[in-house]
C-alpha cells in the first residue's frame, strides 16, 4: 500500500525518441490497475490463510492442537474447551476434535442370539431355531455348564480424552478417533459377561440371584476398564439375561410351577394365620371367663361370710327357732315358684304307687313341608 509512488516513476523504458502514444499509456494504466487488484487479492488471500486457522469447539467437544506433531500445552492444558480458538495453518498445526461430554453407548456382542435389524427394532425374539449356530448366535456358559444368553450395555463418558485418542488406535490409518476405545470397551463387556456367567449357576443368573450376577458383571467391567486404563467413566451398565429361545416353553412352565407353589404357600400361610388368631381369641375368652368366675365367687363368698356374721348372734340365742324360721321362710319363697305334688300318706298302711310323666313337654309340631313329601 505504501508503494504507491511506483506508478509515478518516470517511465524509463518507453522513453523512446518518439512520444508516447495514447495506446501504450492506456495499456500501462490497465496493467497498473490490474496489478493493484492482484495485490489486494494477495493480501486477502494472506488474511484468509491466517483466518482459516480459526476454529470452533462445540459445547460437547474438546480439542487438541498438534504443532509439528506435538500437543500444544502441558498435561490437562492440552485440552481446549468450548469456544473460538486459533491455530496455525496445516501442516504446522493440526486440530484434533474429541466428542467428550455426551454419553456414549456400547453393547456386548458375545452373549446374545442373532437378530436381524428388523427384529431388533421391533423388539421381537426370532423364532426358536433348532440349534444354536456358534458362528452367529452368541451365548455364555454358566457355572453348571448350561447355555444362557447375556447382553451388557455400557453407557460411558470419555474421562481422559488424551488417553482415549493417543492411547488407542481405531484403525490402521493413523487417524485420531474414539473407535479404538470403543472397540476395547466392547471386548471388555464380552469378557465381563463370560467371566461372570462362569461364576453363577443358570438359575442364579436368570431368577434366583439376578442382582448378584448384575453386580458381578459391573464389577468385572469396572476392573477391566481400570486395568486396561481406558480413560472412561461408567455412567450405567445394563444387563439383560434370557434362557435359550429353544427352551422358552419349558422355562415358562417352570415359572408357572414356581408361581403356583408360591400361591399355595401364601394361601396356607393365610389360613394358618387365621387358625392361630382364632385360637388366641378363644384362649383370651377362656381366661377372661375364668377371671370373671373367680371374682364372682370371691365376692359372693365374702357376702355370704358377712351374712353369716350378721346371723350368728341370732342363731346362738335360739338355734332351733332360728333354723325353723329360716327353713319356713325359705320354703315359702321357694315353693311359690315350683310345681308341688303332695303325696298323701296311705290310709291303711299300704304303700301307694305314684306314676309320673316326666318330660311332659309337648312334642314339636310336625313340619308340614317335610310331611308333604
Amino acid at each position: 500500500m505504501s508503494d504507491e509512488h511506483e506508478p509515478h516513476l518516470p517511465p524509463s523504458e518507453p522513453a523512446a525518441p518518439e512520444a508516447r502514444d495514447a495506446g501504450s499509456q492506456a495499456l500501462a494504466e490497465a496493467l497498473h490497475s490490474s496489478f493493484a487488484i492482484v495485490k489486494v487479492v494477495l493480501i486477502l488471500l494472506v488474511l484468509a490463510f491466517f483466518a482459516s486457522g480459526v476454529f470452533q469447539v462445540g459445547p460437547q467437544e474438546r480439542a487438541v492442537i498438534l504443532r509439528l506433531g506435538k500437543p500444544v500445552g502441558v498435561g490437562p492444558r492440552q485440552l481446549l474447551g468450548p469456544g473460538l480458538h486459533w491455530s496455525l495453518p496445516y501442516p504446522i498445526d493440526q486440530v484434533i476434535k474429541i466428542p467428550i461430554t455426551e454419553i456414549q453407548q456400547v453393547q456386548s456382542t458375545a452373549g446374545w442370539w442373532h437378530t436381524t435389524p428388523e427384529e431388533e427394532l421391533a423388539g421381537a425374539n426370532p423364532a426358536a431355531a433348532g440349534l444354536l449356530n456358534p458362528a452367529i448366535d452368541g451365548f455364555a456358559l454358566s457355572a453348571d455348564t448350561n447355555i444362557v444368553h447375556v447382553r451388557v450395555t455400557l453407557y460411558y463418558r470419555i474421562e481422559d480424552p488424551l488417553r482415549a485418542v493417543f492411547g488407542f488406535a481405531g484403525d490402521t490409518n493413523f487417524t485420531y478417533s474414539l473407535a479404538g476405545v470403543s472397540n476395547a470397551l466392547q471386548n471388555v463387556l464380552n469378557n465381563a459377561l463370560l467371566y461372570s456367567a462362569a461364576h453363577f449357576n443358570e438359575d442364579d443368573i436368570l431368577t434366583r440371584n439376578v442382582a448378584g450376577f448384575t453386580e458381578a458383571v459391573k464389577t468385572r467391567t469396572q476392573d477391566l476398564i481400570e486395568a486396561e486404563k481406558l480413560g472412561v467413566s461408567v455412567e450405567n451398565i445394563a444387563v439383560d439375561t434370557a434362557p435359550p429361545q429353544q427352551l422358552a416353553d419349558i422355562f415358562q412352565k417352570v415359572t408357572e410351577a414356581s408361581e403356583n407353589r408360591n400361591k399355595a404357600l401364601l394361601a396356607a400361610h393365610t389360613e394358618a394365620d387365621k387358625i392361630i388368631s382364632d385360637a388366641a381369641a378363644q384362649a383370651a375368652a377362656i381366661t377372661n371367663a375364668a377371671e370373671i368366675a373367680r371374682n364372682q365367687y370371691v365376692t359372693e363368698l365374702s357376702a355370704f361370710a358377712k351374712k353369716f356374721t350378721d346371723l350368728l348372734p341370732k342363731y346362738e340365742s335360739n338355734p332351733d327357732l332360728f333354723v325353723n324360721v329360716q327353713l319356713a321362710e325359705t320354703m315359702a319363697q321357694a315353693l311359690t315358684n315350683v310345681e308341688k305334688w303332695v303325696q298323701p300318706t296311705s290310709l291303711n298302711g299300704k304303700s301307694t304307687e305314684v306314676r309320673l310323666m316326666l318330660n311332659r313337654e309337648p312334642p314339636a309340631p310336625k313340619k308340614t313341608t317335610a310331611t308333604g313329601e
Binding site: 498438534l66 506433531g69 506435538k70 440349534l131 444354536l132 456358534p134 455364555a140 456358559l141 453348571d144 455348564t145 448350561n146 492411547g167 488407542f168 488406535a169 490402521t172 493413523f174 479404538g180 476395547a184 471386548n187 467371566y195 462362569a198 461364576h199 443358570e202 477391566l224 486396561e228 427352551l247 410351577a257 414356581s258 407353589r261 399355595a264 404357600l265 396356607a268 389360613e271 394365620d273 387358625i275 392361630i276 385360637a279 378363644q282 377362656i286 381366661t287 375364668a290 373367680r294 365367687y297 363368698l301 365374702s302 355370704f304 361370710a305 346371723l311 350368728l312 342363731y315 338355734p319 329360716q326 325359705t330 320354703m331 315350683v338 308341688k340 303332695v342 298323701p344 300318706t345 305314684v354
Partner: protein
C-alpha cells in the same frame, strides 16, 4: 527496479525454503514412532513428537508406525480341554509396537502381517493352555476352583514369550476371552439336559408346594391347640386362686359356728335350685304340708 528484484528474491527464497523444508524436514506426531532407514538400513528411531531433519529419498526413508494400542481378536475356533470337551474360544488382545526397528525388520512394517502372525501365536497358545485345563476350570460356581483369570494369564504369558523370543517388536498390553462357546452338535445335548433339569424342577415345585402348605397348616393347628390348652390350664389356675383366696378370708369366719355355716349354705343351695322350673313331691308329713294332716277329709272313715 531494485525493489522489484528484492520482492522477487524474497518470494523465491520463501519458495526455496518451503520446498527445502518439505524435502528435508518431517514431522513425528504424538503417538507415532518413526524409523529412519538410510539406504534401507534402520539408522534412527524417533518416538518423541516434533519436527526432524532427514536426507531426501533415495538416501533416507521415513517409516511411520502407530505406537498406540491396537485391538485384535482371533478367530472363534475349536479346542479340546483336558477332559476331552470341545470348546470354542476366541480371545481379544491389546497390542502395541514397542520396538519399531524390530517390528520393521520382522514384518516389513505391515500391521496386517503382524496380526496374521499374532493370530497364529494366539491359536497355538490357546490350544496348548486350554488343553491343560478341564472344562470345570472355565466354568465353576466355586471361586476357588474357577481358573478363568489364570487361563487368560497363561495364554498371555505364552504369547508374550513368543513375541519376545521372535523379536517381533510387539508387546501385549492385555488379553482376555471375548467368546466362549460349544460346537453346534453339543448344544443339543446341553438343551436335552437342561430340559430334564427343568422338568425335575417343575415336579419339585409342585410337590414342595403341597407338602409345605400342609406343614404350615398342621403347624398352625398344633399351635392353636397349644394356645387353647394353655388357656384352659390358666383358667383352672385362676379359679383355684379364687377359691383359695375366698377360703383364706371366709373359713375363719365360718369356723365360729360350722353348724350354722353348713345350714346357711344348704339353705342357699336349696334356694338357687328351686329357682328353676321344678316339681317337688312331698310327703304329707313334711312341714309345712303336715298341717294338711289335721284337716277333715272325704276319705272313708277309719274302719271300725
Amino acid at each position: 527496479m531494485r525493489q522489484r528484484n528484492l520482492v522477487t528474491f524474497i518470494i523465491g527464497a520463501v519458495l526455496v525454503i518451503i520446498f527445502g523444508l518439505l524435502l528435508f524436514v518431517f514431522q513425528v506426531r504424538q503417538s507415532e514412532v518413526v524409523v529412519i532407514t538410510t539406504f534401507g538400513k534402520p539408522t534412527r528411531v524417533l518416538d518423541q513428537p516434533g519436527a526432524y531433519f532427514r536426507w531426501p529419498w533415495p538416501i533416507q526413508q521415513v517409516n511411520r508406525f502407530d505406537a498406540r494400542i491396537q485391538n485384535f481378536q482371533d478367530q472363534f475356533s475349536e479346542t479340546l480341554t483336558a477332559d476331552q470337551q470341545n470348546l470354542l474360544t476366541s480371545v481379544y488382545v491389546g497390542w502395541k509396537i514397542t520396538d519399531a526397528a524390530e517390528f520393521l525388520r520382522s514384518f516389513r512394517g505391515s500391521v496386517p502381517a503382524a496380526q496374521n502372525r499374532l493370530e497364529n501365536m494366539l491359536r497355538s497358545a490357546e490350544k496348548q493352555v486350554v488343553g491343560n485345563h478341564a472344562l470345570s476350570d472355565f466354568v465353576n460356581a466355586d471361586p476357588q476352583e474357577l481358573k478363568f483369570d489364570r487361563i487368560e494369564k497363561e495364554i498371555e504369558d505364552t504369547v508374550q514369550g513368543e513375541l519376545t523370543t521372535n523379536a517381533c517388536g510387539m508387546t501385549l498390553e492385555f488379553l482376555g476371552f471375548t467368546r466362549i462357546g460349544l460346537p453346534q452338535d453339543v448344544t443339543q445335548a446341553v438343551f436335552d439336559r437342561m430340559k430334564a433339569d427343568r422338568q425335575r424342577l417343575i415336579s419339585k415345585w409342585e410337590n414342595e408346594g403341597k407338602a409345605q402348605a400342609e406343614i404350615i397348616r398342621s403347624t398352625a393347628d398344633r399351635q392353636a391347640a397349644n394356645t387353647l390348652a394353655n388357656a384352659q390350664a390358666q383358667a383352672i389356675r385362676i379359679r383355684a386362686q379364687g377359691e383359695a383366696e375366698a377360703a383364706r378370708t371366709t373359713l375363719p369366719v365360718f369356723q365360729q359356728n360350722p353348724e350354722l355355716a353348713n345350714f346357711l349354705l344348704r339353705l342357699d343351695a336349696l334356694k338357687s335350685t328351686l329357682n328353676q322350673k321344678s316339681t317337688l313331691i312331698f310327703d304329707e308329713r313334711t312341714p309345712p304340708f303336715d298341717l294338711f294332716q289335721h284337716l277333715p277329709t272325704n276319705a272313708p272313715s277309719q274302719t271300725p
